[in-house]
Symmetry: C2
Subunit: 243 residues, 2 copies
DNA sequence: ACAAAAGTGTTACACGTACACCCATGA
DNA sequence: TCATGGGTGTACGTGTAACACTTTTGT
């Protein structure tokens, strides 16, 4: 930030009404995505109090006075899901004047991806109101949360094409068909099976396990893991993931 | 934003220390890019007061209590450059605890692109300290502004490949060689002349003028304009610009 | 006539797409 | 042995990269 050095020297705090400039609240909101093998889902809270009582809301909280924004988001995620090491990316900040009826609050929106099976909310906290909601059938959302969600989904669809973050939504071991179905669901497209496999395997990012599916009534598929270390190494040599 | 409905019902403003949560300052900073035909440049302020007196800083200001963040950024740009209709994109928010020595200030960073020839700063304002600086030779920067600049440049390099925003940096009429040189400078690469032309022209986004360069000591090149309306139309039909 | 940069055509090759086919398992 | 999805090979067309060539101006 750079404050006007001359006509409005607010950076030396001798502006006449300087205290009026330090009356903002800052919140973080986090759009949490998951995938259960069928649908892409978001974790939403049903609001229990007015304003917007009964509406769906993106989980979030006010940032504490001496707390980092990322720290605040991780705190919200921990309380909500019990998880600490999840993919987290800053999305966009919404700073409209009238976005919150109770005061001037700017919100820094994040989105995160997690393996839905790891989700294990704290009992008896506000997080118990959280619901995994398929992204096709969202209800009415509080505040400007629909706008935030739309931005998050668009960003996810873009990001998933250029970074190998789809794996964050899958269990540690998965089949290529799982992966393909995830991408098809996320991007609303269809891929040719053979070509999808060739493309993914050619990237050399997957570790083939010596295991296969069990108890399926067809030929069992091989299981794979995402090789994060390999991706790091390839990235340094100029490799770029692309769907 | 969604405030804890249960243990910390801050959204009803009955949290014990609620006023401590509304003590943030919010600023906007705008990384302004230009191109003079040779170098890509940024518009930077030399700070006249401590802290960081004499350091280079990204122009910005505190957001007024009843002002939108975008409005604040447009105000800064207007004061700085005299321009009102410039390309503007939100970049990222920097909300670290100790980023400003004089208080808790979160900054929403933007970047903008403008035709350097249109730049016409207000005389006798803080903007007269602004300098176009080639991006290769930046000095030491105030606060966390180097970090902000790096993020802006990275975003610009990414964005310019997937949206036709390079034209924002060129005069209304330009040659294909101008365009190619801009991209080469911006992305630190070289393109094959023939292939670059074919690719750009095949997109059908340029309007060929019936004019050519004057007073060059070689064959004069044809001038083109970017056809924004055509781009809109093509976008709706699923067209995606790609370098 | 020459230098310098505009502007074009040709070819080789890599890559994506489409599609046909075989394989392994449970019922 | 049949249904079901796993898994693979090939052939074709499109797009990209490399490069040689022609054109038009000023000096």
């Amino acid at each position: 930030m750079s404050l006007n050095p001359d006509p409005n020297p607010v950076d030396t705090l001798d502006h006449p009404h300087i205290q009026e400039y330090f009356a903002f609240g800052i919140s973080v909101d986090c759009v949490v995505f998951g995938y259960d093998g069928i649908d892409v889902k978001v974790l939403l809270i049903e609001r229990g109090t007015d304003p917007f009582k009964g509406y769906q809301a993106i989980p979030g909280d006010l940032v504490h006075p001496t707390e980092d924004a990322v720290t605040a988001t991780e705190r919200v995620l921990k309380d909500l899901t019990g998880l600490t090491n999840v993919y987290l990316e800053q999305l966009q900040t919404f700073a409209g004047v009238d976005r919150h009826p109770l005061g001037r609050v700017a919100t820094i929106a994040y989105f995160s991806l997690l393996k839905i099976g790891d989700y294990n909310p704290k009992p008896s906290s506000w997080a118990t109101d959280a619901q995994w909601t398929p992204i096709q059938d969202l209800g009415e959302m509080a505040f400007d949360h629909k706008e935030i969600f739309d931005a998050a989904l668009e960003r996810l669809q873009m990001r998933v094409r250029q970074k190998p973050i789809g794996f964050e939504l899958l269990p540690a071991e998965f089949t290529l068909a799982d992966l393909q179905h995830l991408y098809e669901t996320l991007l609303n497209t269809q891929f040719d099976k053979a070509n999808f496999r060739k493309k993914i395997l050619a990237m050399d990012l997957l570790l083939a396990m010596d295991k296969t599916q069990k108890a399926v009534r067809h030929r069992p598929a091989r299981l794979y893991q995402f090789d994060a270390a390999r991706y790091e190494a390839l990235s340094k040599r100029g490799f770029h993931f692309e769907l």
